[in-house]
């Protein structure tokens, strides 16, 4: 009743945050939706009467733009391969580190978390050396095994896998910490009870660890999905979208159209499609989890 009559403390506490979200989040989304119905470009920047309302023309062009489809395929490829790899790598390391017999857990946690907090540009410079076709460390290791050298970033078929390997290495530490937190919250007595009942290590993992980690999985899954769909910095720094557009992502295409060529109307349409993809991906995950 108090809530109806006058704003309560809760309202005033939430209000600043809601205001910020409204101004910096909802408003830009609405503005970019409106922008995507125009042909805002360099000419419109020069004179406002060069701006035309073109309805769904930008979206129609998206369907006919070979570059957009390439970016879409590349991004889905990156997410489909990178996200499960990243999540399983983090789960695996989390399980290993969380073993009671492991000494120096804090040390390993820090070491694996370090790539997450390192700037990507610095990481990219080092990985470019690792990936160098003639003098890179990776190809040297391959040559010891008698495998032909791979042009990691220059070969159209290898460029995206190379970025995925780097991205997984850089990001798995973040999810690992989440998984460790999830593992720590599982009461020990459950495992003790299972041991008494004669359950083996795998049986314990399947019946206790996995189900009780479900909330962590939802969080990690959604955060990873959102992050991976927005693939931008890796190709921007490492390959500029090449070779022949095979590492061009949707976010990179949007950036190029918007801020390199200043086709803001078209870029807004691209970003809105990306928004819808991420939104539906998140919904699907939540639906799957609810079942």
């Amino acid at each position: 009743m108090i809530l109806v009559r006058r704003p309560s403390a809760a309202f005033w506490l939430v209000f600043p945050a809601m205001l910020l979200i409204g101004v910096f989040f909802v408003l830009p989304i609405v503005a970019s939706l409106l922008l995507s119905f125009t042909d805002f470009d360099l000419y419109a920047l020069a004179r406002w009467d060069h701006l035309r309302l073109i309805g769904l023309e930008n979206y129609r062009h998206l369907l006919n733009d070979p570059l957009f489809f390439r970016a879409l395929t590349n991004t889905f490829y990156f997410v489909a391969l990178g996200a499960p790899l990243s999540v399983s790598a983090s789960l695996l390391t989390a399980l290993l580190i969380n073993q009671r017999m492991v000494r120096g857990q804090g040390f390993f946690r820090t070491v694996f978390f370090l790539p997450v907090v390192t700037t990507l540009v610095a990481v990219a410079v080092v990985w470019r050396y690792l990936y160098h076709p003639r003098s890179g460390l990776l190809n040297y290791v391959l040559s010891l095994l008698g495998i032909e050298p791979i042009d990691w970033l220059g070969d159209p078929d290898w460029a995206m896998p190379s970025l995925i390997i780097m991205a997984v290495w850089k990001n798995f530490g973040f999810n690992m910490v989440n998984f460790i937190a999830g593992l720590k919250s599982i009461p020990r007595r459950l495992y003790e009870a299972a041991e008494v009942d004669g359950a083996g290590a795998f049986e314990q993992f399947r019946s206790i660890t996995l189900p009780l980690l479900a909330p962590t999985f939802v969080f990690v899954g959604i955060v990873t999905l959102i992050g991976y769909f927005q693939l931008f910095a890796e190709p921007y720094v490492m390959t500029q979208g090449g070779p022949s557009g095979r590492t061009l992502s949707i976010a990179l295409l949007m950036f190029e159209e918007g801020f390199r060529w200043w086709n803001l109307g078209y870029a807004a349409a691209i970003s809105f499609v990306l928004f819808l993809i991420i939104l539906s991906g998140t919904f699907i995950q939540m639906l799957v989890r609810r079942r």
């Binding site: 403390a9 360099l42 020069a46 970033l153």
Partner: protein, 432 residues
Amino acid sequence: MAQRLTNPLLRLRRGRLVAFLAGILGFLGCSSEPQDTPLSFWVLGGEGAAVHHLVEAFQQETPDVRVVIQQIPWSAAHEKLLTAYAGDAMPDVFEVGNTWVPEFEALGAVEPLMLSATEKEDFFSGILDSSSVHGRLMAMPWYIDTRLLFYRRDLLSSAGFEAPPTTWSEWLLMMETLRDRNAGPFKALIAPLSEWQLPVILGMQSGASLLDAEGCFGRFQAASFRAAFHFYIELYEKGLAALMGDAQMTSLYQDFAGGRIAFYVTGPWNLGEFHRRLPPSLEGVWATAVMPGPTGPGASLAGGSSLAVSSSSSQKEKALALVEFMARPQSLLTLYQATGDLPPKRSVWSDPLLLASPPLKAFRRQLDGVMATPKVPEWEQIASKIVLYAERSARHEMTEEEALLGLDREVDRLLSKRRWLLSGACDQGRAP
């Protein structure tokens, strides 16, 4: 409870608002102060140190002008300038790539410049043309960037060729001979797939206009461009040029020094790099030559960078004086000494300093045959599409025919807004 919580919060917010408003007022007070605002000058790339020196000389000459220099890397320059325009934060004087001039002209961001007849004559005509739009000079040419052949003289003579190639067929023959004589990681030519310059140079050499006369439609399926494109793609097809982009060229200079590269199509900035990075024993072994053409020495691009005066500048006279100072022969010579940037004025080239350098001779000859790219604001975008389709064709992702058809389609779409704005001039529609 509620009362107690709201009041301090409100008070805090009100306090912040007052501080914010006071800040705005203070800011307005500052910016409305007249006089003594310094001239802002944006320079691109590595010319910084030399420019500081030149600006000091300028300030000694005109003590009432203060110049503030800001350096911007080339890779971010185009975005940064457009953003500055959108945000109404343009500097008074700025450097632009010659191929961007039509874009800034279309925006109305640059002030047209006047030149006397004698001054006009002193500039290489192709270079002056590349900074002009509709016959009006929009930016002062400052230094030149044209592409030509860098090559290993010893590799050529070991294969029995005593002079660099002058025609496409000679060039092809030399590269094929060298390819057959050398095994391993050898490549006859380095032409990065991420650059639009080589296919465009070859196209312009064979007489392709790239766009139609009004710049309304792409003309990449024209016979002239088709022939050049075929020559270009064959370079990769025959294993003469390395299938790689800029990002892969991490060991370029070692490869050139090691004799694993015979030809490299590149620009004047590599003169300095070659001197610095190649062992001194190779001095005189590497040389430069005019671009080979379809039937004889061919044309190249009238690239480079120019200085523009912003049309939103509040001190255009001082800005013009700075541009004029920077384009004086003495300043251009200083710039060359400090950075190796090639001067756009003929008179500077007769200086003994430039005459003494053997690799410069080919550049001097090339400058008499340089052409500007089509002057449409969309050029940079069109160039990026050329890169895309040329690379796809070179990598066998599509045939030459498909690539040129796709290129024309994309370019036509890029130019659609221009056609709408120029409706009268584009009425003929698409001629065959």
